[in-house]
Symmetry: C2
Subunit: 514 residues, 2 copies
């Protein structure tokens, strides 16, 4: 096997964190903005998010939700109403205190002391309280229920340590908010949206995830139940990729969401909320990226096929572009994964090799290079991003179909790649979950500092609460572990709790996480 | 002619401002949020904006722009750099000064004095300065130009007097920002995007607009040229519906956007910016609304066809819904205006008459009512929202095609309605522009306080600048008038300036405005 010269300078195996940053830069997805904790999402990163938005939005609409939009600013007083919610969120938020700037007399500007707000406004960290106010106005009778809303918005949580896509002060997300007549329906809806997230992650992002309930200590502030989908990154850490909360009547009580039921009685509604954010882009990178950059699953690739004519700034270029345009048009008229194929004919100036490797780093699923000789032979040089290298030669594994064959084969190839990326990630995850660990010493050994990429461990526990749970959390913290969730459909418990020694009641996943 | 009982309580002719508010409430588009100057955009209002976004976004992408995303917060210092820009914007902005809340000791919360930001952050009123910073990083060589970016975002300008959609503290928009190698290309692009806006307004929103250059006093802060599209509302006032700015090298200089040109010299780029916002939704209401509520142009209607089975909560409902579903499926498989027909089968509980009038007020283009007798006769009762009433009887003008005829005819009907709404608005506007007014006394008379809905007046002027222009602006202000723009393609000047008496150089439109 020949030595491969990868397109990135950092290997995942050597320094996963540095590799992650390098992918983001090399794939030209995002960069620091100079504004504390905020990033600039560049066209390729935005294009992926835009695809994710479009696909998830369709799923949210299909399940009967209406999109709408609520204010960016939330009056301070709203946060004082729902006690637990405040405890969870009141700490780090951006607070608007003034509505005007004036000259500071030193050539600069300052907030105008005359324009101080009577009540400060908080930049929304999430919108339960303000949407709850609206629901209280909109819900009068049982006929108004269920009320199923969603918004795509930016939110701000002041973060001390930020990482692009994974944790930024401003981030983008959708937040769904629903109100229901009773507990059973609200709980059912909480799980329905969890399932929407699971299907979106698996089918659109090719991200295998484990759906389950979070333990009490990991609940959203004010929630009665919090459910999550958890994805495993290539370093074995967990990424919480989406959450769905059953909020009971806590927010309904705080906002006064009451309805007249069929018997005429005033009744509190039961609410849910659920969200998926730009952090999922980070999950895609850390699941599908390799030592040559990103590999974008075709369903969310802004361009699924990039055609690169090897232009030489000479007369022959016209015929070459024409030849490529034939393939572009053929592909644009075909469908893959239920949508027209997204194909770019890239004729920007630049050296051919440079452009090829730029698209490799960006992770365009299929790259088609066409030189003058290809044209003369009626063929194209086709590179699959998922299986980039020919191991024997250490060179890119070009296939050389005829132009017509390429036009016919690429749509199915894109669908196959989508499945392959999922299968690859799923296989890796399954190989990295250790089950049947039955005492805490074994957990300690499994997650010892010197073990690289230890993956997840499934253990049984007695689901302690209160102080006993605090003790478990503290103990896990010494190993930098958290309980990810109780997977839906996992085997029943059949042994002792590894923390308390009492009979276990369920199985949980332990992992390091983002 | 019989008396018509309209669906709204306010007539446009009686109180246009009150009518506008009533449409927004009656069509369930938006409402006050309780947060100063911010509104809640409800599903029907949001659905219209979402359609507008999708159609305009496609036009922006077709003209070669990449979407991306820049931070919500802009450091205060950015505003001190571009002097004119600061003068224009520094006044009313939301200023973030703290990043944490703590208990105030009285059961409430307050900004934590320990968490005061060293440099306050301004919630973006527009993004020239922060996008300029990025452009300075991204543009190195002539090969990087043109750089054509767009973002969809929320922005905040603290407004003292707000009106839903037209002027709110937080609003939503797209802002395009481009950098070019030279003045000619940047100016050309400024006009190209103005043309994109014109086509979007006319073709998608059925809004006739007049594209032209704004006078010097109405320029965007820091711009060299500002161009606009101006629409006439039914009260004869103008609404600036979109602007496109040639910024010269002003922002390039402030942010340092320099590139190495083909000769190797460091050269300042020329930039443009252009935006369209949620205020355009207000323009749609005030152009197409009538005394029965909104009329949504089919191209931007979230639902173009609403089918209302007259359910009676009895066994026969199943067959009736089934009959309606046949029409729904037939329509959903057809296209109108280049997209699949958007058709809703509305089986929500509620009285049939109530539901019909709700959809009339919302302005769904085609409403199809189906009762048991219709089903038995194989027909449907079809109501066109643009020609709602039968003048002779004073009743809704139902047509009664067979179900199959309706399925065949509705797509073409939607396209005809789109054209009809545009033609109607264009005719009204043309009838309300008075040309050939050649002295200021005539302008005063035209816009006298007692004249209702005076429309616009075209006059000739000598294009004064500086103090002479200030005098013109002041004089117009006494009549509550502004110069809207110098229409592209208007007749050359051929007389004296109505303000200065000097030979005129061009024609301008005068109007009251929103």
């Amino acid at each position: 096997m020949a030595q491969i010269r990868h397109a990135l300078s950092t290997r995942r195996a050597d320094d996963f964190a540095a590799w992650y940053q390098e992918v983001i830069t090399a794939a030209d997805m995002a960069e620091e903005s100079g504004v504390r904790g905020c990033m600039v999402i560049k066209p390729w990163g935005w294009g992926i998010w835009e695809r994710m938005q479009r696909l998830l939005d369709a799923r949210i609409k299909t399940t009967g939700h209406d999109n709408c939009y609520f204010p960016l600013f939330i009056p301070l007083g709203n946060f004082a109403r729902e006690a637990e919610h405040v405890d969870g969120f009141a700490k780090e938020m951006a607070v608007v205190t003034h509505h005007r700037l004036i000259a500071d007399g030193k050539g600069g500007l300052m907030p105008d002391p005359e324009a101080k707000l009577e009540e400060p406004l908080v930049v929304r960290p999430t919108s339960e309280t303000i949407i709850g106010d609206a629901m209280a106005r909109w819900v009068q009778s049982w006929r108004d229920l269920p009320l199923k809303l969603n918004q795509w918005a930016n939110v701000v949580r002041w973060e001390m340590r930020t990482r692009m896509f994974l944790r930024t002060s401003e981030f983008l997300w959708q937040e769904g908010h629903t109100a229901h007549a009773d507990e059973a329906e609200a709980k059912e809806h909480t799980l329905r949206m969890l399932e929407v997230y699971r299907a979106f992650a698996e089918e659109d992002l090719a991200l295998p995830v484990i759906a389950g309930e979070k333990p009490e200590n990991e609940r959203f502030p004010g929630a009665v139940e919090t459910w999550s989908i958890e994805a495993m990154m290539q370093d074995g850490k967990a990424l919480q990729a989406g959450t769905s909360h059953y909020l009971g009547t806590n927010f309904a009580e705080a906002s006064g969401i009451r309805y007249q039921d069929r018997e005429g009685a005033q009744t509190l509604a039961h609410t849910t909320s659920w969200g998926v954010s730009t952090r999922m882009v980070g999950g895609v990178i850390m699941t599908h990226g390799d030592d040559d950059g990103l590999r974008v699953p075709p369903a969310i690739a802004p361009w699924q096929v990039v055609i690169l004519p090897m232009l030489r700034e000479e007369e022959g270029d016209v015929a070459l572009i024409d030849y490529c345009e034939g393939l572009r048009a053929a592909l644009a008229g075909k469908s893959a994964l239920g949508e027209p194929v997204r194909v770019l004919l890239d004729i920007k100036p630049g050296k051919a090799a440079q452009k090829r490797w730029d698209w490799v780093r960006k992770g365009a699923p299929v790259i088609v290079e066409v030189g003058g000789r290809d044209k003369d032979n009626g063929v194209v040089s086709l590179l699959r991003r998922d299986t980039l290298w020919d191991a024997a030669s250490g060179k890119p594994a070009f296939a050389v179909p005829t132009r017509e064959e390429a036009g016919e084969a690429i749509p199915a190839l894109l669908e196959a790649m989508q499945a392959t990326l999922h299968a690859e990630a799923q296989e890796r995850r399954e190989a990295s979950i250790t089950r049947g660990v039955s005492d805490f010493a074994a957990v300690e050994k499994h997650f010892a500092a010197e073990v690289k990429f230890p993956g997840w461990v499934e253990v049984q526990w007695s689901k302690p609460t209160g102080a006993a749970l605090d003790k478990v959390v503290e103990r896990l913290k010494t190993l930098k572990l958290t309980i990810r969730n109780v997977p839906i459909g996992s085997m029943p418990a059949d042994g002792p709790c590894i923390f308390t020694g009492e009979p276990a009641v369920e199985r949980v996943l332990l992992a390091k996480s983002y």
